[in-house]
């Protein structure tokens, strides 16, 4: 789950008990890293289904299993998909 904290002006990623605060740029970087994980390579690659993601300029590290990756891909996609009514005009 990702929420925005007005007090810290940061996005709070609360994922299975681990809490990480991200600036918007860091959130964008996180999105890019999650989206860059190719599920086919993840399954059939030579690395036993684990992804290691350094975050926030190497201040944090997330170690993810397959289900975590799928869950985070879904969360990220939801956050960045605008509603039907929303436009950039």
């Amino acid at each position: 789950m990702i929420n925005f904290s007005t007090s810290s002006n940061k996005y709070r990623l609360d994922f299975h008990g681990k809490e990480i605060l991200l600036s918007f740029c860091e959130l964008l970087g996180f999105r890019n890293r999650i989206n860059a994980i190719d599920i086919n390579t993840h399954f059939y690659g030579d690395h036993s289904g684990i992804e290691i993601l350094p975050l926030c300029n190497l201040k944090e590290v997330l170690i993810l299993e397959t289900t975590d990756v799928l869950e985070l891909k879904k969360i990220i996609d939801t956050i960045f998909t605008p509603q039907e009514s929303e436009t950039l005009c």
Partner: protein, 170 residues
């Protein structure tokens, strides 16, 4: 949350992803033209070599223009990895034909991003990309012109080098 994303980004996130892919494409094109310039230099096509050195520089400028546009509008531009490019061509005509194919791929990619911007109501990106669409028309014309010249007149070796002098940037 959506409004917060919008507050930080002036352009659409899908368009940013596509622009980052375009950065890779421009970098690849720049590298490919550098290889072509080298081939032309090795084979004595001095004017074509000059054209491709300039062309390589131009593709890098395109890449930087997109790079800056992403960063200026709240996104993150990623410095691209450049894949291996070919240094082998059968002839000067083969080289220009390969260059034209590259330009066509770049044009199609730009047009695809333009259409995505339109679909996502990202007017700023659409306007930004209009310059690239016009630029691509010029690039394609340049390569097509070279191919026509070589196809029409380039049969013997002496003629090939004489034609090379016509390959200056318009």
């Amino acid at each position: 949350m959506e409004n917060l994303i919008r507050e930080n980004l002036s352009i659409n996130i899908k368009v940013i992803d596509l622009l980052n892919e375009q950065i890779k494409m421009e970098a690849r094109a720049s590298s490919m033209y550098l290889a072509m310039a080298s081939w032309c230099d090795q084979h004595g096509y001095d004017y074509s070599a000059k054209l491709f050195y300039d062309q390589s520089e131009e593709e890098r400028e395109h890449m930087l223009k997109i790079f800056k546009f992403i960063n200026d509008n709240g996104g993150i531009a990623y410095s691209p990895e450049v894949p291996k490019v070919s240094h082998e061509y059968e002839s000067i005509l083969d080289l220009y034909k390969t260059a034209l194919q590259e330009e066509i791929s770049v044009s199609e990619s730009i047009q695809n991003i333009f259409l995505t911007s339109r679909k996502e109501n990202d007017v700023a990106s659409e306007l930004f990309l209009q310059w690239f669409i016009n630029e691509q028309l010029e690039e394609e014309q340049k390569m097509r012109h070279a191919i026509k010249v070589y196809e029409l007149h380039g049969t013997d070796t002496e003629n090939l080098y004489a034609l090379d002098k016509r390959m200056t940037r318009s």
